[in-house]
Point group: C2
Chain length 181, copies 2
Amino acid sequence: MKSATGLGYSLLGIINQGPQSGYDLCQIFETTPMGHYSSSPGAIYPALKRLEKDGLITGETERAETLRPRRIYRATPAGVSALISWVSKPVTRDDVVHGLEDLALRFAFMGGLVEDRLIHRFLTDLTTLIHSQVTELEAFASTMPDEPPTARLALESGIAQYKAVASWARRAAKEFETTSD
Amino acid sequence: MKSATGLGYSLLGIINQGPQSGYDLCQIFETTPMGHYSSSPGAIYPALKRLEKDGLITGETERAETLRPRRIYRATPAGVSALISWVSKPVTRDDVVHGLEDLALRFAFMGGLVEDRLIHRFLTDLTTLIHSQVTELEAFASTMPDEPPTARLALESGIAQYKAVASWARRAAKEFETTSD
DNA sequence: CCCCCCATGTAACATGTTACATGATTGA
DNA sequence: TCAATCATGTAACATGTTACATGGGGGG
């Protein structure tokens, strides 16, 4: 059921968009904004092993007889299911408190996997939760001492980020509106 | 020299603002926005041991003869030095790529530790680096396929966050302007 | 009387980082 | 020929999470 960590799901999500070798995946983390979610070969290869052991991906060795074999991974039906339930998890307050990065990953991989209705729901739930988080943070900020000011300013930078994401989410939600909502 | 992780420096930073027990620190992580940097007793107590072993903090057992002793930690001069060099590290591109959270922490603990000149420098460097990061991310976004759209939208949410922080940093920098700059 | 809070930890576990190892192949 | 790139991994290490253990004290 659980079987995968954030990195695991990311790998699964990328592989789901097209077969990839371990090396390909390393390159993606090195050369694209996925590198924001820092990862290294020493984490990626073991994670692929785990995913394969759990039956979420299958590896097929290409060019086995040549001197430079590549192991190409594809998502299994079980892997696709796992991916769908990962991205479909309800957005919780904790998700928002601990950082929006995991949520951004889940959102990024939603495309093509779930209905627009669910994507829309994800964004509206996110907006609501961020608003209450911002309210809490602002309340806390008002209790902070004026000196030294950097602590409060740091908190304000966090608040600014939350607000930016909330406004992004409102904009993005429009792209996934369906007649029923 | 190195001796501390992000959590270690956070603890050191809090302790530096006033003596704290392990329990106090746990409470801070549970009940304030510091909880964003998720941490648990199982991480905090070992981290305190490490800091003490490295001479960055000293623990003094209060009420030793009573049945509920508390161990109160204070920052040593070596601890203060370590803290100062941590917050004074130059802001690098990697810091910005991997996430602004560590930078926010360093900024939060700068107050009272370093001159306004350095704080101002931190903010202007940050602004510059964020701008180039935003440029890179926008260039990448323009190479992404239109379908499915969630991946690109997720990237746009990241860009929006970077922009929010850049604009926060420009505003904040004004509070630390000195005559010399 | 029972439960929750104070206050400190420990143990098992999974995961990630850094650094290294291997060896062919491609381009300058 | 010499370096960089392809392509796979392993080993040591530190750190963090979860869950548990302890045991008195205060409030309902």
